[in-house]
Amino acid sequence: MLANRGLASALKKNLVGSKNAISLQLARSMAVKVNGDKGQVEISPVQCYKTDGPSLWVDTTKEEAVQALRDITTMRRLEISADLMYKSQIIKGFCHLYDGQEAVALGMNLGSTKDDHIVTSYRDHCFQYIRGDSVKRILAELTGRSTGSTKGKGGSMHMYYPKNNFWGGNGIVGAQVPLGAGLALAAKYHANKGMARGEVSSKAVSFTLYGDGAANQGQVFEAMNMAYLWKLPCIFVIENNKYGMGTSTSKASSNEEFYRRYDPLPGIKVDGMDVFSVKQCCKFARDYCLSGKGPFVLEMNTYRYHGHSMSDPGLTYRSREEVSGIRKERDPIDRLKRIVTELGFMTDAEIKDLEKKVRAEVDEAVEFAKTSPEPELKELYTEVFAKEPLPYIRGTDGIYGHGVCEWARK
């Protein structure tokens, strides 16, 4: 263990501010230990601020690792299918894809329980999936159909799975951060049957995600201040994919070391392209928060392959080589595949087979999303308020929508 920490600090020098840092550590052989269906995987080195950080060895099992590979393969396929459907105009409007960043959602799910809250931005399809929703419902939401996750009412940016405490995407950059802190407040409040200030434990935490661009919104800092003041079990997860739309972090952030940006909050910079790194650090931060010490920051060093949204080719502000280089050297799926095979949990042939199955499943979901019915008209004016609409929802009465209300005629 100590030796590994030594390695971590030796690599640390390379990590700071260096784009090649992560590929450097990948170049060395993956360290794993195996014992039957149980295994241990060495995670990427981490950078710590006001914390010692977690052990660099993380436990796993065959069941977990195989399922993880299945899930991450599904996520990638989901996003690629969404891309194709968008290009053939089956999906319209705003659509932000998550391919490249899947390990964050997946690792976070492994490092948390379904009682923990998760809330994120508009790049939300994979979180919806990993918290329990089906690919069918997600794709049907993207096509705006009644069978979608939000009955076709929300679209790409607005899907939720409250059953497993996923509080969804958000179209307004940064708006989900105070919401996440609010969920943390709720968790602490319920655990203590009332408002408890100071270092009091709770039973669940809130993973509150936002981007490197969103990190500069005022409400992020406001939420952090209150979270620290009230020692809320809130894990602020900044997904640093290097760009907010076309703006690189260096052009938008005075301090690009997001994990140490919020004195006095402790933080860790995590390899966000490694499922097990994410899992281990989420677990570590979670334990810290549950004990009542207050909020924690995790910076996920990650990368999005696609442009910002479907209308951005994603190559005007970064080079093709940059994208393909990261795909080649840091791809989270490739890495997980290597781990799974090195652990001896799956053979190459079994992986191929799994990929085929996933593909067929997602293809079936695509068909479902294409052929599901449109939402009923009433979805336009229901759920604005708690009660059935008329005559409260003005405008929607009458065939052209603007007749005089029936009750006024009498």
């Binding site: 319209k92 679209g155 307004i172 005022g218 005007t316 929802i393 003005r394 603007h402």
Partner: protein, 322 residues
């Protein structure tokens, strides 16, 4: 020239003719998401055209600061739906600077440009028309152009106007609306509504992208019902040109108002209330409002939500047949 081209052209002229003019906003250095700021940084340099971090409250605050200290500050909020983080700076600061300092200073050189309105698939947060929140704020001017020619002239006037202006650009028309636009420098008065078409039977009032919808409805009314419609483009919502509007309604005796924003407390409410006060004895029918519904902006049902030309036509007919 299309509408986004006209905006771009106006910005070129504004920066060219006023050495104190500055353009700031998210990604404007790259031309902005709608390309309204294209080539401006190349031409005027990074000290006059620059990107800001993703922080609307900051953008508004910085622009107020610049404007109060002698710069002509033109700020872009990427979508009108994102203006709410900046709401406080606009409503509580920009709008009240002159009044609360007893005229010692102001931020009249401030213009905030922002694209608004439905585009067919924008869903909840890329479609809204938030103009009425701002028309409820004395000290601001609120301008909405309907076409490329109008957009250029009104934007230049807004930038040069000594009051803070919120300039809502109909993004649905950015590329869809094309017309001849002089490349020269010209302004359009911020005080006068525009009588787009004269008529005698009914006054139809709108602004921005809705004007096109109203023109279509009026054409149908003319062809099918032989109705002579007078169409008014408000152009400036705050302050608005009561005289032009009321003279028209006194002449026609009937009035239909239309906007995309929801019905309740929409700008049409202000128009209807003022018109009935001024024109009470001339009115032959209740004033009709054809607006968005009182629902969040829907994704799948946008086509039902928007006050399309058929709804406007139906309202014209109801008003005539009353």
């Amino acid at each position: 020239m299309n509408l986004v081209g006209a905006i771009n052209n106006a910005l070129h002229i504004a920066l060219d003719t006023d050495p104190t003019a500055i353009l700031l906003g998210e990604d404007v250095g790259f031309g902005g998401v709608f390309r309204a700021a294209v080539d401006l940084q190349e031409k005027f340099g990074k000290s006059r055209v620059f990107n800001t971090p993703l922080c609307e409250q900051g953008i508004a605050g910085f622009a107020v600061g610049l404007a109060s200290e002698g710069s002509t500050a033109i700020a872009e909020i990427q979508f009108a739906d994102y203006i709410f983080p900046a709401f406080d700076q606009i409503v509580n600061e920009a709008a009240k600077y002159r009044f609360r300092s007893g005229g010692q200073f102001d931020c009249g050189k401030l213009t905030i440009r922002t694209p608004y309105g439905a585009v067919g698939h924008g869903g909840l947060y890329h479609s809204q028309s938030p103009e009425a929140y701002f028309t409820h704020t004395p000290g601001l001017r609120v301008i909405v152009p309907r076409s490329p020619y109008q957009a250029k002239g009104l934007l230049l006037s807004s930038i040069r106007c000594p009051d803070p202006v919120i300039f809502f650009e109909p993004k649905a028309l950015y590329r869809a609306s094309k017309e001849l636009v002089p490349v020269s420098d010209y302004e359009i008065s911020l005080f006068n509504a525009d009588v787009v078409m004269e008529g005698s039977d009914i006054t139809v009032i709108g602004y921005g992208a809705q004007l096109g919808v109203l023109e279509k409805a009026c054409k149908k009314a003319r062809e099918e019902l032989n109705i002579s419609t007078e169409i008014i483009d408000l152009r400036s919502l705050l302050p608005w040109d009561k005289e032009t509007v009321c003279k028209s309604v006194m002449k026609t005796g009937r009035c239909v108002i239309s906007h995309e924003a929801p019905l309740t407390s929409g700008f049409g409410a202000e128009l209807a209330a003022s018109i009935q006060k001024e024109c009470f004895l001339s009115l032959e029918a209740p004033i009709e409002r054809v607006c968005g519904y009182d629902t969040p902006f829907p994704l799948s049902h946008e086509k039902f939500y928007v006050p399309d030309y058929l709804k406007c036509f139906a309202a014209i007919r109801r008003c005539i047949q009353f």
